[in-house]
Point group: C2
Chain length 138, copies 2
Amino acid sequence: MSGTKPGKTGAIADEKLVAEVVAALAFNEAGLIPAIAQQYDSGEVLMLAWMNAEAVRETLQAGRACYWSRSRGQLWRKGESSGHVQQLVEFRYDCDRDAVLLVVDQTGPACHTERPNCFFHAVRDGSVRIISEPRPQD
Amino acid sequence: MSGTKPGKTGAIADEKLVAEVVAALAFNEAGLIPAIAQQYDSGEVLMLAWMNAEAVRETLQAGRACYWSRSRGQLWRKGESSGHVQQLVEFRYDCDRDAVLLVVDQTGPACHTERPNCFFHAVRDGSVRIISEPRPQD
């Protein structure tokens, strides 16, 4: 996929660059922007979550995905309790600057259901099917 | 990636199944849900757009991606004027039912800038870089 190896310090931004990115992004009326997380090597779409300016800042400075939890109303450092962190490989955003793509290296399952990714409902052959199962962790 | 070949009629849903999917999805207060389009074979994340119930219905019945244009306030049949259609390979949604993943086969560039995908701004090696160029069409 991206060809970029995880762990590159190029994924991490200094204060000036972070400010440039935050200023460039078009956050919605609630101060949020949708962010897609994609596994850097397989191309698997892992999840979609939301970021505010502070989550963007932290993600770019720490080199790990940090979102804004709309349900809890607070920063959500992905994997902080589960250990299922997402190391940032590259931070991208789109033509309209209103969507983010985080190219990451996922540790463990991305989904809170313990599935590899969150998109496990599929319309397939005439019904909605569950296409992956929870993956027990070692 | 998905391993599913495009053109499978399994991607198309009858009226009952469409109703089931629409009822399952958690549309936001504006009646919309974010939808990621991903190229079925390469795994490339093409774009993020929005769907309302009618766009979900049309996508599942026609087997082609149809979104809701927030700027124009109308259905957006992707590629209707440009020819850059997205044939539906599989319709998926996530654990929280508040995000859609359209696995598609993209004709031509996905982005209105004529780039292959919309995520062409990248934070790379200390600056924001444009990582793809418009691709002239035949």
